[in-house]
Amino acid sequence: MAIGDERVLVVIPAFNEELSVADVVAEVRRKSPFCDVLVVDDGSTDATSIRAAEAGALVATLPFNLGVGGAMRTGYRFAFQHGYDIAIQVDADGQHDPASIPALVAALGAGDGADLVLGARFAGEGDYRVRGPRAWAMRVLAAILSRSARTRLTDTTSGFRAAGRRAIALFAEHYPAEYLGDTIEALVIASRRGLVIRQVPVAMRARVAGTPSHGFAKSAIYLARAGIALVFAYLRPRSAYREALPA
C-alpha cells in the first residue's frame, strides 16, 4: 500500500485536559490533515469533551474514569469497527509532536511490515531526558522487551505509537487496564502474539499543561507496578490473547 492511501485515526485519550486538548486536536488536524481525530474523554469532570468537539474531533465520552488503558481500548475498538488501517495514540497534554505522525505511518508501511511502531523519545531527536531510578527502570524494561520483541527498543513506555490492522484488531480486544502498566504490557501482548514491533525516533516537547509524574516515590511505585504487570503479562497463557473478530 502506498503511503497516503491508508485510513488513519489519531486517538487522543484525555482526562481533565480542557486546557490543552483543543490545541492538540487543532495541531494534529493542521499538521496531519489526512488523519481523522478521535478524542476519548476518560470520564473527565471538566469541559474536555466540549473543547475537543469544538476543535473538530470525534469524541467518545466514557461514563467514568477507566485509565489510559480503557480509553485506548475504546479508541482501538472504534478504529477496528470502522476499518481504519492505522491507529495512532497521541497524548492530550501536548508532549507528542504531531509533526512526527508521518514518520510513524511511514515506518508501519515500510518493507518489514511492522504491526506496531513506537515513537521513541531518546533515539537522537529532541531534548527529552530522564534521570535517576526512573531512567534505570526504563532501561531495564527496554532490555527485557527488546528481547521479547526481537528488535532494539529504547523507549518502551512511550505513549506515542502507531498500530497497524493486526495490532488494532488485537488491542480492540486486549488492551491492559492496569494504570501505568499499559504501555509496556501492550508490548508484551503484541510480541507474544507475534506482531512485528519497530521504533522510530521522535522529538518530545515540554507539556502544554499538566504536571509530569516524576519524583522518587512515584518512580519507585511506577517501577513496582510496571514490574508486576510485566511478570504477569509473560505468565498469562498465550491463548488469552486473540484478535477481535469482525462484527
Binding site: 476519548v40 469524541v59 467518545a60 465520552t61 466514557l62 461514563p63 480503557g70
Partner: protein, 120 residues
C-alpha cells in the same frame, strides 16, 4: 461438654444452613457463590451432632487439640470465600469496563447519526 454447649453447637450450625438455604430459595444468592457456605454449614452441623468425628479426625491428622482443627477449617473456608469474591469482583470490573467502553462508542455513533439526519 454439657448439654447446653452441645445444643448451642447444633443450633449455630443449623442457623447458618437455614440462612444460606433461605437466601438461595429467594434467589438472593447464586448457587456458585453459596457452595462454600453450604459445605461449611453441613460440616459444622455433622460435627455438632457427632463431636466424636472431630476427635477422631484430629487424632488422625496428629492435631493435639481437636478445636484447632475447627479453627483451621473455619479459616480455610473464609479464605476460599474471600478469594472467590475477589475473583468475581475482578470479572465484574472487567465487564463493567467493557460496558462503559461500548456505551461511549454507541453514544458517539448515535450523535453522528443524529447529526447526519438533521443535515440531510
Amino acid at each position: 461438654m454439657n448439654v447446653t454447649t452441645y445444643v448451642f453447637g447444633i443450633v449455630a450450625a443449623a442457623l447458618v444452613l437455614i440462612v444460606v438455604i433461605d437466601l438461595l430459595r429467594r434467589r438472593r444468592l447464586r448457587e456458585r457463590h453459596a457452595v462454600w457456605w453450604l459445605v461449611a454449614g453441613t460440616v459444622a452441623l455433622v460435627l455438632a451432632v457427632f463431636p466424636a468425628i472431630l476427635d477422631w479426625l484430629a487424632g488422625l491428622l496428629g492435631i493435639a487439640l481437636p478445636v484447632n482443627l475447627v479453627f483451621f477449617g473455619s479459616i480455610a473456608v473464609l479464605f476460599l470465600v474471600a478469594l472467590q469474591a475477589s475473583s468475581e469482583l475482578t470479572k465484574l470490573e472487567d465487564q463493567t469496563r467493557t460496558l462503559a467502553e461500548r456505551v461511549a462508542l454507541l453514544q458517539l455513533e448515535l450523535d453522528r447519526l443524529r447529526e447526519e439526519r438533521t443535515k440531510g
